[in-house]
């Protein structure tokens, strides 16, 4: 580092540190031969770095002015500009400004390193500001005889920077301990790689200046490259950080949009669900109202016919019409019926009706638990077919025995109703079924995508086989 105060300090003021002369003597003699060429390259590199830093300072300045969260970067800009201007004031005429620029550089460096970690202390702020006044003022008071005071200030300022770097690293280490995650670990490693060599370079320059002036003159331009390189790296890191933050923000906004779209879809879904529910409720209420109206009005009238008609035939018709009305009302909407429940209902009705007609009934249904359900419509249709079949047995067959069996075959529900009666006379079968209702039974089976087969012959009874896909 080319701290010009130290540069101007006379070697006499430097306390010899013999312990470290060993290190100095290790420097190869060959290096001295190449000093002139080395100096040239060091100066050239310094120039390049100054140009790059000026550019970087502009970029970082723009970034920090746009991003409020990157405020501490203003100190990095200050640090860079101080260094660039410091380089420019290498000419002897402008040397009066150099102490001020250096203290500014240290102020900005310390503040940047600490504020990056959100570490703020007002006494440090004040001390750094006072230092900006005290250092140039004290040097001015010496009236050109900067000498030892210059060397002391140089050392103090260097140590301040080193301490700030060390503290920044320590704070990062603490944060990593508290919240170990990949991003923090990566940042800690990067900062360690950047800061430790710079700290070493600053220390080495101080020590070399103290123990071996010629070696110091050779090494100083090279060691002095470390600080601007660090600033460049920090600037790049900042730019990189902002770019990453932007990518993150875009990802977040995409995720947010996605979440928003999901929420909207969810709201729409629940809204349509609600509407559906409401519709169901309204439908159910309407169904109940229609059912009640039908029962109270049509039902009451049919009932009056049932119980007042002189004709058996008319009262039977009215009773059947009443049953039909009820089934229709119930079939309008309706939940699926568990087949096991349906079998229970059917059994009770069939067995008691046949029993009343003095026909011996045998009911066979699967013994194991049945999980199947029936559409309400299918339940109603099957009930009608079964009822019709039983009515036929009671009214027309003259049977003494009837067997009804329910079974499952290849995904179908099969209901077989068999009697030992006289069968259906052939001339009535199909053409003129005279109240046997075979045609309506068949069409009902068809509505359920099933079929209803009737086998009958005079003298050997009737078998009705109803097959419905489940």
């Amino acid at each position: 580092m080319t701290f010009p105060i130290a540069h101007r300090a006379t070697p006499a003021w430097r306390p010899p540190l013999f312990l470290l002369t060993a290190l100095a003597t290790l420097w190869p003699v060959a290096a001295h031969a190449q000093t002139q060429a080395g100096m040239y390259w060091a100066v050239t590199l310094n120039g390049w770095l100054a140009a790059m830093l000026a550019l970087m300072a502009t970029i970082v300045g723009l970034l920090s002015s746009l991003h409020h969260r990157e405020r501490p970067a203003n100190f990095l800009v200050g640090m860079m500009l101080s260094w660039v201007v410091l380089r420019a004031t290498a000419a002897p005429g402008a040397s009066g400004l150099r102490p001020l620029l250096m203290t500014l550089l240290v102020l900005c460096g310390v503040q940047f390193l600490l504020r990056q970690m959100n570490w703020k202390r007002s006494w440090i702020d004040h001390a750094l500001l006072i230092q900006c006044l005290v250092v140039p003022a004290s040097l001015l008071l010496t009236g050109g005889q900067i000498g030892m005071l210059g060397a002391v200030w140089h050392a103090v300022l260097s140590l301040e920077l080193i301490a700030a770097m060390g503290w920044a690293l320590w704070l990062r280490h603490q944060r990593l301990q508290a919240t170990p995650d990949d991003a923090h670990a990566r940042e800690f490693r990067l900062m360690a790689v950047l800061l430790l060599p710079t700290m070493a370079a600053l220390l080495a320059e101080m020590l070399l200046a103290a123990i071996n002036e010629s070696l110091w003159r050779t090494a100083s331009p090279w060691l002095g490259l470390m600080l601007p390189l660090l600033m460049l790296a920090l600037g790049l890191q900042l730019v990189n950080h902002v770019a990453h933050a932007r990518v993150e923000a875009e990802k977040r906004s995409a995720a947010l949009e996605q979440r928003m779209a999901e929420r909207i879809a969810e709201v729409e879904r629940s809204h349509s669900q609600l509407a559906e529910q409401k519709l169901e409720q309204v439908t159910e209420r309407e169904r109940k109202r229609i059912a009640a109206d039908l029962h109270d009005d049509l039902g009451a009238k049919l009932l009056t016919i049932v119980h007042t008609s002189e004709s058996d035939r008319i009262s039977t018709l009215a009773r059947e019409a009443l049953e039909e009305m009820r089934l229709s009302v119930r079939g309008l909407t309706g939940k699926p019926v568990h087949l096991i429940d349906a079998l229970g209902d059917w059994r009770a009705e069939v067995v008691s009706r046949l029993g009343q007609a003095n026909i011996l009934a045998e009911w066979k249904s699967p013994a194991e638990d049945i999980e199947h359900t029936f559409q309400a419509r299918s339940y109603v249709q099957t009930t009608r077919i079964l009822r019709e079949s039983v009515s036929n047995i009671i009214k027309h067959s003259g049977a003494t025995n009837a067997t009804i069996s329910a079974a499952f075959q290849d995904g179908d529900f099969v209901l077989t109703i068999q009697d030992n009666g006289q069968g259906i006379p052939t001339e009535l079968d199909g053409r003129l079924d005279r109240g046997h209702g075979m045609a309506s039974m068949k069409s009902r089976a068809k509505q359920m995508h099933g079929q209803c087969l009737v086998e009958s012959g005079p003298g050997w009874g009737t078998v009705i086989r109803l097959t419905i896909p489940l």
């Binding site: 009451a300 009820r326 429940d341």
Partner: protein, 217 residues
């Protein structure tokens, strides 16, 4: 002597029912009415032995009369005579304390037989009502504790009878299957109806207590 209350709003049906009742209970005194309000005031003033009650009436439901009878004349057998054959109408009536129900469109012979059976203490029970009763008591068991509920839970035998009714077996068939007399099976069914009523009243009382109708202790 039997004193029978007959609540029915359609005159033809009332006349028909009256004739039917006369056939079963030859010497009975029959008091007719066509409105819930009339029935309620009759219940206040006179003693009955049997009540035949319609559900859907112009000024309300026969269930109100069942509840009133349950309170003032608990020995009266309330029987629902209705055109509604669905559980939504029958179950609340049974919970209110009805002893049984008759469907109006059934043949005269069947109604007479059922009425006779009821008078001998054999109430009807359909598979769908049996399923409802099973589900009702199963739900009661899961509910928070009530000192009354222990008394009104079903016994294993009662549950067994209900399960068989639900499967479509007739009461005489169940009697044969369980090796019990027809009379004993009928007693089980009566007991089930009684528990249904007690349980629903206990439930109503608990609900009233919860709502603070009886004040807080």
């Amino acid at each position: 002597m039997n004193h029978i209350l007959l609540l029915e709003d359609i005159p033809e049906i009332r006349a028909w029912l009256k004739a039917l009742v006369k056939q079963v209970f030859a010497n009975a005194q029959i008091t007719e009415c066509s409105r819930v309000q009339d029935a309620l005031s009759l219940v206040n003033g006179q003693r009955f032995t049997l009540a035949l009650l319609d559900l859907g009436l112009p000024d309300g439901s026969g269930v109100e009369v069942i509840a009133a009878l349950r309170e003032k004349q608990p020995e009266v057998q309330s029987v629902i005579v209705t055109i509604h054959d669905d559980d939504e109408h029958l179950f609340p009536a049974l919970q209110a304390g009805a002893f049984g129900y008759l469907l109006k469109e059934q043949s005269r012979e069947l109604l007479v037989e059922q009425l006779q059976r009821m008078s001998q203490g054999e109430p009807p029970l359909s598979p769908s009502i049996a399923r409802k009763v099973i589900a009702y008591f199963a739900a009661q068991v899961k509910k928070p504790t009530s000192t009354l509920l222990h008394e009104v839970s079903l016994t294993d035998r009662e549950t067994e009878v209900l399960l068989r009714v639900a499967k479509g077996y007739t009461l005489p068939e169940i009697g044969v299957q369980l090796g019990l007399s027809r009379h004993t099976i009928a007693d089980y069914v009566k007991q089930i109806y009684r528990k249904l009523n007690v349980s629903s009243r206990a439930e109503a009382a608990l609900e009233a207590q919860r709502l603070g109708l009886f004040g807080r202790n």
